[in-house]
Symmetry: C2
Subunit: 528 residues, 2 copies
């Protein structure tokens, strides 16, 4: 029997088996899976009623709220393509994305009205503007709840071509225009199964959606959690105290977030005031994490912490750093945190290699650095309307991540850098992450970024930008003495600058390109 792979099956399963179970918690609003499913049917029929045709793109501009979670099934049930955009971008960037996607309907949260007003005139192809959580005014042509109330709750399953586009995400590339990542129904379905398996989710799990659903690491969750019948708890805006309160109140079991957010949590003054005993797993993604952070999360949040890795282009999960039964038994206990802080090993359904510039596997010695390449049914179909961009990243059947890493005999990958973040000092490749991890192990350090600066003698040298914890003190010399116990002398930054904070992007990732820029002012190139 051959049935087109479709994530709608996941929602249908949840509605059939977990209909009475609390599915979505968004502030005071609560929906069971039966209610959630009905709202997605209404949304699908409403979208059809708006004149959105099959395969049309529908854009959502919103926080993590129940309406956005509804879009992940309602838009697909209508036969249309979901395009959720990064709300942290500027109006011209979002306008570019909507234009490039060719969306015919835009749903936006009322808080983004000024942004919509700024772009509306340039988007004549968008016929429908649906506002959420506000009466119709300004740019809006429709209001979300009224649309749903007027629509039929009947379920009219669409005909699905599993190889057709289902979701379209634009990557927040630091250079150039955003690129549209085309994910097919097949990509999403297989990632849903493989993701739930790899994350070891069950129906007893509750996930707090910390990462925005429109961003890498966020978008698999609407599918795998729903398939398992687990609970979705929405977090609209990040704040350590609010997050900890939600964990305690809703007995959250899984947290997925970037290192900077976990850093903020473990250093929050509210940490001791909440019952976090429900937490089972902290998955650290989006940027490399240090063994110190892994240990600190495990101590302070009282749950297991491992690193996960994925990209916009890979639906997203590629690897997780679960400790292996056989290694844990054989290895020294202190290796455990080190392993859990690695990039991890390929989840089932994904094939990962680390290759040199000629495409040959590097030695699996944990030392040689190469590029991570991936082959999987969860890798995107390609970039939307960009065959050149696609051909640049998918070559010879492998997706080239641009991440530079080592791999060991057990298949554990460790990212050493984005290829553009590698510091080449006198011909030696230096990993900025390795230096950052050494800084992170100092008790006074809250955050750190290491970037390459030009140097007349060495070509490039590492420069460290350090944020100390409140009330903590350390001199540059003290930090240097500390990290020299862990690193070769040539890796120790001569230049250490103290900052009040570091600039962060969409998911809370530190914007190293921005930090790097001033050091290269007045130069034609950005490598030396």
């Amino acid at each position: 029997m051959r049935i087109p792979l479709s994530v709608l099956e996941f929602r249908d399963r949840a509605a059939a088996l977990f209909g009475n179970v609390e599915a979505v918690i968004d502030g005071d609003r609560r929906f069971t899976y039966a209610e959630y499913a009905e709202r997605t049917h209404r949304l699908a029929n409403a979208i059809r009623g708006l004149g959105v045709a099959a395969e049309d793109r529908v854009t959502f501009i919103s926080y993590n709220c129940h309406q956005l979670l509804e879009a992940y099934y309602g838009v697909l049930e209508a036969g249309a393509v979901l395009n959720p955009v990064n709300i942290r971008l500027a109006a011209p960037e979002i306008g570019y994305i909507i234009g490039h996607a060719g969306s015919t309907a835009v749903f936006y949260h009322a808080d983004f009205r000024p942004m919509v007003e700024a772009m509306q005139a340039d988007l004549p192809a968008v016929k429908r503007w649906v506002v959420m959580e506000s009466p119709i005014e300004g740019p809006a042509t429709h209001e979300y709840e009224a649309l749903l109330a007027d629509a039929s709750p009947a379920y009219d399953p669409p005909e699905v071509d599993e190889d057709a586009m289902a979701e379209l995400f634009y990557t927040s590339g630091t250079t150039g225009k955003p690129k549209g990542v085309v994910l097919t129904h097949r990509n999403l379905y297989l990632h849903g199964l493989a993701g739930a398996l790899a994350l070891r989710m069950t129906d007893a799990d509750t996930m707090l959606h910390v990462v925005p659903l429109f961003h890498v690491n966020g978008w698999g969750a609407p599918h795998w959690m729903t398939m398992m019948g687990g609970r979705h708890v929405m977090l609209r805006k990040f704040d350590p105290g609010a997050l900890l309160r939600l964990v305690a109140e809703h007995r959250v079991t899984y947290l997925l977030a970037v290192p900077t957010i976990f850093n903020a949590l473990v250093n929050s003054p509210e940490l001791g005031s909440h019952d976090l005993s429900s937490l089972k797993m902290a998955i650290i993604g989006g940027a490399p994490a240090s063994p110190t952070l892994v240990r600190t999360i495990e101590e302070k949040l009282g749950c297991q912490a491992i690193v996960g890795y994925g990209l916009s282009e890979t639906t997203p999960i590629l690897s997780l750093a679960w400790p292996r039964a056989v290694l844990t038994a054989a290895e020294a206990p202190e290796m455990s945190a080190a392993r859990q802080a690695m990039t991890g090993y390929a989840i089932a359904g994904v094939n990962l290699r680390v290759v040199d510039a000629e495409g040959a596997d590097v030695l699996p010695d944990g030392e040689q650095i190469g590029e991570i390449v991936a082959r999987s049914n969860t890798v995107m179909e390609g970039y939307y309307r960009d065959p050149e961009g696609t051909a640049e990243k998918i070559r010879d059947g492998w997706f080239h991540t641009g991440d530079m890493a080592t791999i060991d005999e057990a298949g554990y990958i460790s990212i050493k850098d984005r290829s553009k973040d590698i510091i080449i000092r006198g011909g030696e490749n230096i990993s900025s992450v390795e230096i950052e991890n050494a800084f992170a192990s100092h008790p006074a350090v809250l955050e750190v970024a290491v970037v390459a600066a030009p140097d007349d003698r060495w070509g490039e040298i590492p420069v460290a930008l350090v944020v100390l914890k409140p009330d903590a003190a350390a001199t540059a010399q003290q930090l240097r003495t500390h990290i020299r116990t862990q690193l070769a002398d040539f890796k120790v930054p001569r230049q250490i600058e103290f900052r009040e904070s570091l600039p962060k992007g969409g998911t809370g990732k530190i914007l190293k390109a921005e930090l790097r820029e001033p050091f290269w002012a007045g130069r034609a190139a950005r490598v030396n």
Copy 2:
């Protein structure tokens, strides 16, 4: 990215990530995943060398041994189709299967030489007869280990059409000729992912292959365990003591078996002599289980026990009876064993309904009985060379299981009978399983089967065939008094016969058709 779904990916992952891990334990023979993978490459090249063409069928006649486990990847890597046969069938039946499958090569364990000799003359299309664990003699043209030793260990991946047949199993139908169940690469791959997810397997798990790999419930395991990097422990012939010793020696975590085998285990005099603390899960499949058996397994084996359900035609797993977090919290504790003894609810990737004769859903009240129908990418493509048989079972996009069951609001299905085993007494449908469960709750009862006998007044009546535990005693009247506390009077069998043992089929299932037969001797029909 679109890559043909193929279980070869699972073995490749295990070899890459778990190469040094002990993969297969078969008596004194041990193989790591690197060694196991290499042996499957050699087997693939050997099969090509035997002149087996792509899409040719290759039959295996064997116990659960490492060679059969190798076939699950080696045959597929050669581009051929694996056809493992039920060794408990008679020579003419196996001869029929090999002829119907059109196999060109047959691999057999030396213990089955007499059987091969009996059928060889009738199978001129079979050009190669490969004997395992014996020198070449009699019917054999090749010997397994010599073939592997002479073959290249190089891995030459085949081109896979995911919709093509990969494995061909013949169902041990109680009436008519065996039917060939065609499973495609896509069936197997999706069942591998969904099965591991549903069973909650990790790389820390060790599975004892109790159920023959050639039989329903057995054949998913070579794929999902390998994908997870868990350990396979082979059991060639069932014996309670041998099984318990293997659990203790290899720290087995998962047991899948039929009720009669678990019954034998919990009543084994050796039970107290082995350390079974490694056991995590007992999955009871192949026949309905009673809440008493679930509770007894949990007490005596010290692990969680749940029922699983599947058929030859469904790769096989359709449902599992995991307790649900939300129900467990809300329900009385005594409901837990009752739920875990139900047929369970659909695993992710499978859609199950219970329908009446017109195909409409029965009420989800746990009372109305209908037929279980399934829709999934893990349902077989069809019966081999039997379009009529296929059309009879797959109608309107649903596979008709022939199993009669109830379904409740939470989606838990409870099988009441095979449709042919329902007892119709004076127009009332009586479930033989319900009566069997009542008997099973009596402490003196080891095994029981309830079948329909003809009756002049009622049409049909239930008759119970009971095996008492060694050293236990109970009269028919005592048993009747016991079950009357649980069942309506019209369901209590007037006729109770004590037996020394009950006849069992391939997986240890009680052969109810055989027990039923004598009561109907001399009658034209088998319903009344």
